[in-house]
């Protein structure tokens, strides 16, 4: 029972770090906004009374999330069209990995058994 784990070395890409932080924040705000919708939604629904309001609250929230998500995607598409690198599609971690400054030092570091 073993899996192969090797170590990296080399300096990080500052750009990759920033992208990672931005991605962290994006996930956090998305999740926090979902929590806020549930919290305010349940109160608003009962305050205004009943099913149509509940449907309206959830519908508006889903619509808002869709608009934001589609808007972000369109903006990224525009940036790509203006000649940005293909790394726009990569996750922050993948982008950091793809940084040419980083290299897999597994040969030097040896295998670490799990």
């Amino acid at each position: 029972m073993r899996s192969d784990v090797s170590r990296w070395s080399a300096a990080p890409a500052a750009d990759g770090g920033q992208r990672l932080r931005a991605s962290n924040r994006r996930i956090a705000w998305t999740l926090a906004s979902i929590a806020a919708v549930f919290f305010a939604g349940i109160i608003a629904t009962r305050w205004a009374g009943g099913g149509p309001i509940a449907t309206g609250v959830m519908g508006a929230a889903v619509l808002l999330f869709l608009v934001v998500a589609i808007g972000r995607n369109l903006r990224r598409g525009d940036e790509r069209a203006r000649g940005s690198t293909g790394q726009m599609d990569a996750s922050p971690r993948e982008a950091a990995r793809a940084d040419p400054q980083r290299h897999d030092a597994s040969d030097a570091a040896g295998e670490v058994p799990r």
Binding site: W8, R25, L31, F38, F39, R114
Partner: protein, 538 residues
């Protein structure tokens, strides 16, 4: 809100302790996931002792029929606070403590994604706990309507109820921040090669739990906010006198409350899924099906809440839907139990304390799940509603399920946390004493419930006396046994005992065991690269 980017020391872990303050400042200001995990675990154990003391008061009063020790109002406060403290103060923080300690080390991350928010999540807990406990001393006493906080009692109660509502708000905020942190950490900080389907199952169960928390904690917060406005701002959400609907609160509460059961049990499933393969020296059987079963349980948990409300006058179609939907949960749960058994099948098993607790979990949780199925049968539940049968059922799930898994997890990882091996004899005595005393305490409650003894009542008919006495003796025994665990953990924390090797368990194969013991203060600042296709596979 701060986020952690990777540092790039060339080591997997290093032990440079000059990087953090010492003394009280270390614990107040720490952003280290291990420190925060340690604080969560000690806090939860302290709250476990507080909630346990309340349970002792309850069982002392129920030792004999009649009123001997406390008055009925105080008894009701004890049952209420015992439930709230155990659920929100002991079990959930313990699960978050395990998550803080283990998730970054299991996925090869240097820390949690939002380290400062992690600190803040923890330090919200002590004020909430103080609010809950000190509500006993305010005029009118603590909340006494049961941990479910049903109106109309909670609309009419004294200021202890306000403190409880505020505490629930704070605890909810802490849980949501913790969940955001865990989801972000797992999604963004996994080491290269650690794909989602290569993660240890503990990380999967916590990822799903965190999503559940994000969805349902705000609903509880909304419910208690409406309760607060009913009490003080003239609204009538639940106040029947103003045209409100008390049953509406039950719907909202159990929309939170039933997923909450899985919020509590899923991390325990994750811990057991780490322990059983290790001590069976085999990979986990059916890893993918375990992931899907966990997700299935989480999804189903949203559509079964009204099985807690079979006696509230739901329409027949609703009763049938909730009954069958509840029974459906047995399918993914059965998949998990089957996979744990299949993992052990023909394994080279050994029975150290973690494995004993995992097996105890498996046996007793299955019993608790089975009595849950009994309660899910609507015509039967009408008879059992609010009897001791239900108390027995959920203690088999909460205590023998979650708590046993957490004890197993603590014994399993304490060598990594402290660098010291626990005393195996003490661990085994703790297990057997817990197993026997737990059953002495809670198994008779099935008989009491079937005979019709109602819960949350300090007095009872003479016919229930014998089994109540047995149950109380078991409860005192179980409570005293936990001091063994405390002693065992203090010994390890103090470094009394043999030094732990990096990998004390032969069959352990997850990433944390590649680190020295105790785990260095900073780990995986340089991410490892994972190359194996299936976690735990040979």
């Amino acid at each position: 809100m701060s986020s952690i980017a990777h540092d790039h020391a060339p080591e997997l872990g290093h032990d440079d302790h000059a990087h953090h303050p010492s003394g009280i400042a270390r614990w107040l200001t720490t952003t280290n996931h291990k420190d925060i995990g340690t604080m969560y675990l000690w806090f939860s154990f302290a709250m476990f002792l507080v909630g346990g003391t309340m349970a002792m008061v309850i069982r002392a009063e129920l030792f004999q029929p009649g009123l001997q020790i406390v008055n009925p109002e105080f008894f009701n406060s004890m049952t209420t606070l015992h439930g709230l403290i155990m659920v929100f103060g002991a079990i959930m923080p313990a699960a978050v403590g395990f998550a803080n300690w283990m998730i970054p080390m299991m996925i090869g991350a240097p820390d949690m994604a939002f380290a400062r928010m992690n600190n803040w999540s923890f330090w919200l807990l002590p004020p909430a706990a103080i609010l809950l406990v000190t509500s006993l001393f305010v005029p009118g006493g603590a909340a006494a309507a049961g941990w479910t906080l049903y109106p109309p009692l909670t609309v009419q109660a004294g200021m202890g109820m306000d403190l409880t509502i505020f505490a629930v708000h704070i605890l909810g905020a802490s849980s949501i921040m913790g969940s955001i942190n865990i989801i972000t950490t797992i999604l963004n900080l996994r080491a290269p090669g650690m794909t989602l389907m290569r993660m240890p199952l503990f990380c999967w169960t916590w990822l799903i739990t965190a999503y559940l928390l994000i969805a349902v904690m705000p609903v509880l917060a909304g419910a208690v906010t409406m309760l607060l406005t009913d009490r003080h701002f003239g609204t009538s959400f639940f106040n029947a006198a103003g045209g409100g609907d008390p049953v509406l609160f039950q719907h909202i509460f159990w929309f939170f409350g039933h997923p909450e059961v899985y919020i509590i049990i899923l991390p325990a499933f994750g811990i057991v899924s780490q322990i059983i393969p290790t001590f069976s020296r085999k990979p986990l059987f059916g890893y993918a099906s375990m992931v899907y079963a966990t997700a299935g349980i989480a999804i189903l948990s949203f559509i079964v809440w009204a099985h807690h409300m079979f006696t509230t006058g739901l329409p027949t179609a609703g009763l049938l839907f909730y009954m069958y939907a509840t029974m459906l949960i047995a399918v993914p749960t059965g998949v998990k139990v089957f996979n744990w058994l299949a993992t052990m099948w023909r394994g080279a098993m050994t029975f150290e304390a973690p494995m004993l607790f995992a097996l105890g979990f498996l046996f007793l949780f299955t019993m608790g799940g089975f009595t849950g199925l009994v309660c899910a049968i609507m015509p039967v539940d009408v008879q059992l509603q609010d009897t001791y049968y239900v108390v027995a059922h959920f203690h088999y799930v909460m205590v023998a399920g979650t708590l046993f898994a957490f004890f197993g997890g603590a014994y399993y990882w304490i060598p990594k946390w402290s660098g010291t091996m626990y005393n195996e004899t003490l661990g085994k005595v703790h297990f057997w004493s817990s197993l026997i005393s737990f059953n002495v305490a809670f198994f008779p409650m099935h008989f009491l419930g079937l005979a019709g003894m109602p819960r949350r009542i300090p007095d009872y008919a003479q016919q229930f006396a014998d089994w109540n006495m047995v149950s109380s003796i078991g409860a005192f025994w179980f409570g005293a046994t936990q001091l063994l665990f405390l002693y065992s953990m203090i010994r390890c924390a103090a470094g009394i005992g043999p030094k732990a090797p990096a990998k004390p368990w032969e069959g352990a194969d997850t990433l944390e065991w590649t680190l020295p013991s105790p785990a260095p203060y900073h780990t995986f600042e340089t991410p490892p690269r994972i190359r194996h296709p299936v976690p735990g596979a040979h």
